[in-house]
Symmetry: D3
Subunit: 133 residues, 6 copies
Amino acid sequence: MLKRLLAPTIEVHAHCDLPCGVYDPAQARIEAQSVKAIAEKMADNDDPEFTTRAILIKEQRSQLVKEHLWVLWTDYFKPPHFEKYPHLHTLINEATKLAGAGGSKGSHDIEIADQLLAKVDEIAEIFWETKKA
Amino acid sequence: MLKRLLAPTIEVHAHCDLPCGVYDPAQARIEAQSVKAIAEKMADNDDPEFTTRAILIKEQRSQLVKEHLWVLWTDYFKPPHFEKYPHLHTLINEATKLAGAGGSKGSHDIEIADQLLAKVDEIAEIFWETKKA
Amino acid sequence: MLKRLLAPTIEVHAHCDLPCGVYDPAQARIEAQSVKAIAEKMADNDDPEFTTRAILIKEQRSQLVKEHLWVLWTDYFKPPHFEKYPHLHTLINEATKLAGAGGSKGSHDIEIADQLLAKVDEIAEIFWETKKA
Amino acid sequence: MLKRLLAPTIEVHAHCDLPCGVYDPAQARIEAQSVKAIAEKMADNDDPEFTTRAILIKEQRSQLVKEHLWVLWTDYFKPPHFEKYPHLHTLINEATKLAGAGGSKGSHDIEIADQLLAKVDEIAEIFWETKKA
Amino acid sequence: MLKRLLAPTIEVHAHCDLPCGVYDPAQARIEAQSVKAIAEKMADNDDPEFTTRAILIKEQRSQLVKEHLWVLWTDYFKPPHFEKYPHLHTLINEATKLAGAGGSKGSHDIEIADQLLAKVDEIAEIFWETKKA
Amino acid sequence: MLKRLLAPTIEVHAHCDLPCGVYDPAQARIEAQSVKAIAEKMADNDDPEFTTRAILIKEQRSQLVKEHLWVLWTDYFKPPHFEKYPHLHTLINEATKLAGAGGSKGSHDIEIADQLLAKVDEIAEIFWETKKA
């Protein structure tokens, strides 16, 4: 629980391009958790109608992960951040790829969902460091 | 900061109607914070083009607050919750009204945004009590 | 036909949060009828590709039922209505749940679609009473 | 009121491309009524913030009129209908243009909204004739 | 390649109803190519999860073809065009039907996708003739 | 015209994450052209209602530029591309920023729209080189 309390929570879609200045990596993480929960439910239920709904909804939730991360990449992070964290471009690019066809959209492997969550957490850690800076 | 760590964070859109079981009031709160930040920026800037964009984006963010709260109301809360918290229907109804035409959509009053945030926090408090129960 | 002529027709999404003052429960009912028609077609056709499309489209139509009803709940109905019809909160809450994972999204049972239509009609009856009042 | 009871009600978005077979011109009409109500409110209120919101919402409602009519044109009407009603293509094309930049999107003239409603009613009349045929 | 260089490229959604005056049939064509590529991939892969995703995505891409063509029909083409090309209404109507339930939404037949592409190309040819006129 | 014929055309949204393999930078370019055309029209017309609609639509078109470029960045470009073109991350990041609050969303300066178009063309050039490779 302490980990939860201290964990960076990530949000991106909240950024509104006014910009309002509100960013929080929590939204991407919540959607990634949803992707994992769907993968787990798929492992426990092979009713074909349920599976179809699960694939459909996993597609939508994975897409939201991508969108939230894209907003962070374009709207929150600035040149000095990319200078200070030279792997940040690659990290976010890999995270968004992990939410796509070669990742959680194309697969219901729980391991893939865990990799996605780990990448989102890495981005969140950098995010919160930059907020403190 | 302690308040932030302990504060309920609210999310609703993350619920995917599979259902994946992931709910968190944080998303509604993030959008409501965005609404308040927009109202504050509007108070400091009367460039007409900026004002137009601010109204447009405040409309979208207020709508997201409504949608996140609706998902909590329909998809997370169950009959026993409504029994235990008899004002819960009214509370959520008022919160969604506060994000509509008579609230943060129709007004850029910072006070309105604060009332909206307060209602969202009340809902989040109940949410987290039910999670512990 | 007389029943159709006299029947309350329900619409919610038409409300635009200006607010323009145009509400009509017809839209929720049309979407609920669509849900029922999809369930009936699923009963008559077990081609897997058709079934996949039917599940996908039933998901979207059920979502529209929810959204139309949410708009009525938040934007049309006012405190005096909830006072006069004390079960109105519960009624709308149940109707939206019936269009979700535990209702017409998760099931293609025609009986579920009929229950959803019946709830929508109950809401429409109250809606039209309040319009006359 | 009799007129309302007997009037064709038009809906298009309800058609789901399964297809579920549920079409009703009511939705296009409800959105067009919303467009007119917005134009009327704009005539009575020249608060700039209200005007901005009204323009924004009129844009969305006009777009919905277009979409509902497009669905009727493509998904409901079939070659024999176009043969029997040779002006049907032109009628729907004109109606959708009336909901665009040269019509209710670009203007808040109440007269334009009335013309749009009249066109929608003409389409609805044909729709209901074809249903009886 | 010359064919590609000279080929009409079609776009419709780019028209923004300001109107900005930018139309190009390329977008409809790109989506129709996507529909065909999906149909080809479905022919080569019968993994059920892949098939479900393919049906879902083919539904979305077909819908985009329809929307892009509708915009051309309503927003770009004017009465003199319909006079000069008397089959233009029918041509666009048939093309949009080919992207619907009776066409590329309801079928993964590559031949259907080819028919859709051919219709889109016919529309593009007329489009570019009118631009030169 | 030769320039048009030879020019890279860019598209991104057409990629469907199946993936269908259809990418084309044309869509981003068409939206960016739309942004420029809107800025030009705003320079020639200071009717306030027109200006409001222009700001609203410029916001949507700029958003589409961002989305199309994000899809190229995540879904089309692969690690070897980023290795061969080390400035590609920065280039796409700058282009998406140019379509945001600090670029064509927040400004109607025609010069900004030209900068956005230039960046999109640079990305398209690389895109077409990688297609030939």
